[in-house]
């Protein structure tokens, strides 16, 4: 039997009541209240071609009843017209025509599904080294990464690269899916060997939370339901883990940072005195009455009110988008940062960062670029390329002249004006910036701040 035949049959067996019965599969009554109390988890999937990524996503969508009949029909008829014998699960998740023709995923595609506990956003990323930039893009907002390993092949070079990117982008949670366990006789020994290998090389990275799950995406073992074939495995199924992994602690609630995006200034008599600073809280908690300082002016005031669309609230926390009014009429505009007088970000013009290069024209040392950091624009010059990271071997190559597409390196830049930043390891929002080419206007680099240049 060909693997594709198995795919279709396995799907048929496991979810006969597909979408028809809202109570099927997940065994929970649909409840409006429960839905309103769900939280959001963004995760990234990475794996080499043929590790089973599309099958796994297809199964998660299917078993959570997130695929509609007409979408299923469309995928089936597309499979037939391509000459595939059976419905190809990958067609449920592969988007653009060019990609369909080549039969591979070449850009990040976003997919959505929900269980009664959580809503999930999947950033489905291509695995090849030439799509490193796409993976970095998907990783930048993810709470969790799924790395797939084919149990027959174990840890391979791509696994290392994907793990490195996961740690570089500081995705707080990692799940290593050891897939195709059906093809290794559900062997505990194989699983443990791969787990040990992974742990050994991953000890070089800073990844705080790693979970290993042996599974078969094709048969569904340990995807939604615990596997009967692997009773030696004591952990939870993938979906159970995704639903329960603790993400509330991932955000920095200690260091209040509020980049000002937009000044809400009504021109009407009714709101003559209203002057709200609109923005999204990057980290920490702000409360009405808090003493704050605005950067770069250094002027201090207190928070008079916090509102969303005129509706007041007592506090604001990440990732809320709010408007903040201050007691005093100090001058604050877009690009400024509101924080606490005793807890300020670093202010500086000489910055070291890890950068992922995202375009065909190489990064040129000595060239000037525009950067966007929070709501702030500045220009910068690339002063130095300290080293390039060899993402195959994880060696640092010193003495290289430039960074090419998909290459990663540590740079030192000098900006035309001070930025207010935190190390990326502390805050992803105040610790990241993008590099923009001034000729083409395109985004050419993604940077994670290490700190001030020493």
């Amino acid at each position: 039997m060909s693997p594709d035949t198995e795919t279709t049959d396995a799907l048929k067996n496991s979810a006969p009541e597909h979408r028809g019965d809202p109570n099927a599969n997940l065994g929970m009554q649909f409840s409006t209240d429960a839905y309103l109390d769900m939280d959001l988890l963004r995760f990234l999937t990475c794996g080499s071609v043929d590790d089973g990524k599309s099958t796994l996503i297809g199964r998660l969508l299917y078993d959570s009843k997130s695929i509609f009949e007409d979408q299923l029909e469309a995928a089936t008829s597309a499979s037939m017209s391509r000459g595939d014998e059976r419905m190809n699960l990958a067609l449920l998740t592969d988007g653009l025509r060019a990609e369909r023709e080549q039969g591979i995923t070449i850009d990040v595609a976003y997919r959505y599904f929900a269980t009664p506990k959580r809503k999930f956003i999947i950033a489905d990323c291509p695995g090849h080294v030439q799509y490193t930039r796409n993976m970095v893009t998907g990783a930048s907002t993810a709470n969790l990464a799924l790395i797939l390993i084919d149990a027959r092949h174990g840890v391979i070079e791509q696994t290392r690269r994907h793990s490195f990117i996961t740690s570089l982008l500081r995705i707080p949670h990692l799940v290593v899916c050891i897939n195709k366990m059906d093809l290794v006789d559900w062997s505990q020994e194989t699983y443990e060997k791969i787990r040990d290998d992974f742990e050994q090389f991953a000890s070089r990275f800073e990844i705080t939370d790693i979970t290993f799950i042996p599974m078969s995406a094709l048969t569904g073992d340990n995807v939604v339901n615990r596997s009967k074939n692997m009773d030696w495995y004591q952990g939870s199924s993938l979906l159970h883990h995704l639903e329960n992994v603790h993400i509330a602690g991932d955000r920095d609630m200690i260091d209040p940072r509020f980049p000002v995006q937009w000044v809400v200034r009504p021109q009407s008599d009714d709101f003559h005195d209203y002057r709200g600073y609109g923005g999204q809280v990057a980290s920490g908690v702000f409360q009405v009455g808090d003493e704050v300082i605005a950067l770069p002016s250094g002027m201090e005031s207190k928070i008079k009110s916090i509102d969303i669309g005129g509706k007041e609230q007592q506090a604001a926390f990440p990732p809320q988008s709010v408007s903040i009014q201050l007691e005093d009429d100090i001058d604050v505009s877009r690009g400024d940062m509101i924080c606490r007088p005793n807890n300020k970000p670093t202010s500086g013009q000489d910055i070291d960062a890890m950068v992922v290069w995202m375009t065909d024209q190489p990064m040129v040392v000595g060239k000037k670029y525009t950067i966007r950091h929070t709501s702030n624009d500045a220009r910068c010059i690339i002063k130095k390329l300290n080293y390039r990271m060899d993402i195959q071997t994880l060696h640092r190559d010193e003495g290289v002249e430039n960074l090419k597409l998909n290459e990663i390196g540590r740079i030192s830049i000098r900006t035309t004006k001070p930025l207010f930043f935190d190390p990326y390891r502390q805050c992803r929002i105040t610790g990241s910036f993008i590099i923009i080419d001034e000729q083409t206007n395109s985004t050419v680099g993604a940077a994670m701040i290490i700190g001030e240049t020493k």
Binding site: R19, G20, D21, P22, F30, T32, D37, L40, F68, E69, D70, Q71, A74, S77, L96, R97, V108, A109, Y110, R111, Y112, A114, K119, T137, T141, A248, G249, M253, I254, Q261, W262, V264, P266, Q267, S268, F271, G278, G279, Q280, V285, Q287, D290, E291, K302, I308, G309, G310, A315, F317, S321, T370, R372, H373, S375, I429, S432, F433, I434, I436, S442
Partner: protein
């Protein structure tokens, strides 16, 4: 000095539901566009997604006025109920509405109706929209499209660049990282912005329910004359939307899941009379929302082709 609450003890207090997280993301996007572009406009059709967009704009900019007008590309094939709703809403919120008519483009020979047995002005919207962009020199247009609607959209950026013909190049999209949006553009270039990209149909309905947002009655179950055409319940109305030869008109209890042109929106049999009913119905639905759009059925890559041509 006021002390901030102890963060460790109150983490659950500082937790956002997924709907509120999506709302926060959308508000952030709208403010970015307002700050980075000179002449944005919000595409408003009177459908539920664009009504949600207006609600989000109220949250982003009130108590001030919107820093942009609403723009309606009027195909002339609208449901009368949707137009009435549009005018009431605009009056209530006191914002500026620009109506750009497909009929005017047809009269000027700049657009034509799709050939074929059924009148469709789907493609005629493209030159009309582009004409509006040129007339008002819009550089950014907010749209209510979502990535869950269709496969081509699943890969589209939130800031989606268009050339001067309004065309989208799926191969040449800017990377979009963290919450940093790069809106730098040359003269003549414009972008489509999709603040609710990450919402699903379910999220939209939940939001409407949670925020108690008014929507046209078309979305709720009502009695309506329909015919069955190509397996779908097609609403009938005044010419050119009358029944065709051999079609029997029946009066059924239906509602619309999506509201587009009368010529291409199918109704579904439904008793759902309240938002709670609708949410329960969406949760149990067997067909996607776009399944009710006859225009997508033509071929598998229909949406992708239309997008490349400048369709929203």
């Amino acid at each position: 000095m006021t002390q901030a609450a102890d963060p460790s003890s109150s983490i659950s207090q500082y937790r956002l539901t997924h709907i509120k997280a999506l709302e926060a993301e959308a508000i952030h996007i709208m403010r970015e566009v307002a700050a980075q572009f000179e002449r944005p406009a919000l595409m408003f059709s009177g459908g539920k997604d664009s009504i949600v967009m207006v609600t989000l704009a109220l949250k982003a900019f009130r108590p001030a006025k919107f820093p942009f007008p609403l723009l309606h590309i009027d195909t002339g094939h609208n449901f009368p109920e949707a137009l009435e709703f549009r005018d009431q809403l605009v009056e209530k919120i006191g914002e500026r509405l620009i109506v750009h008519k497909v009929q005017d483009m047809i009269d000027q020979g700049l657009a034509s109706e799709d050939p074929g047995p059924y009148p469709s002005r789907n493609r005629a919207q493209i030159p009309t929209l582009i004409n509006a962009i040129e007339t008002y020199r819009f550089d950014a247009l907010f749209g209510g499209a979502r990535r869950d609607e269709e496969k081509a959209r699943a890969k589209e950026r939130i800031f989606s660049f268009r050339d001067e013909f309004g065309q989208w190049d799926p191969k040449n999209q800017r990377p979009e990282l963290w919450n940093l949006y790069n809106g730098r553009h040359q003269m003549g270039e414009n972008i489509r912005v999709f603040p609710i990209s990450n919402w699903t149909e379910m999220d939209v309905w939940q939001y409407i329910m949670q925020e108690n947002i008014e929507i046209p009655n078309l979305y709720f179950s009502h009695k309506r004359d329909v015919v069955t055409r190509m397996g779908q319940l097609v609403p009938v109305g005044e010419a050119p939307f009358g029944p065709r030869d051999g079609e029997a008109v029946s009066n059924r209890t239906v509602r619309f899941r999506t509201v587009g042109d009368m010529s291409c929106t199918a109704a579904t049999d439904s008793p759902a009379a309240t938002l709670e009913d609708i949410v329960a119905e969406v949760a149990a639905a067997r067909a996607s929302e776009r399944g009710a759009r006859m225009d997508d059925k033509t071929n598998e890559a229909a949406m992708e082709d239309r997008k490349k041509e400048g369709y929203f």
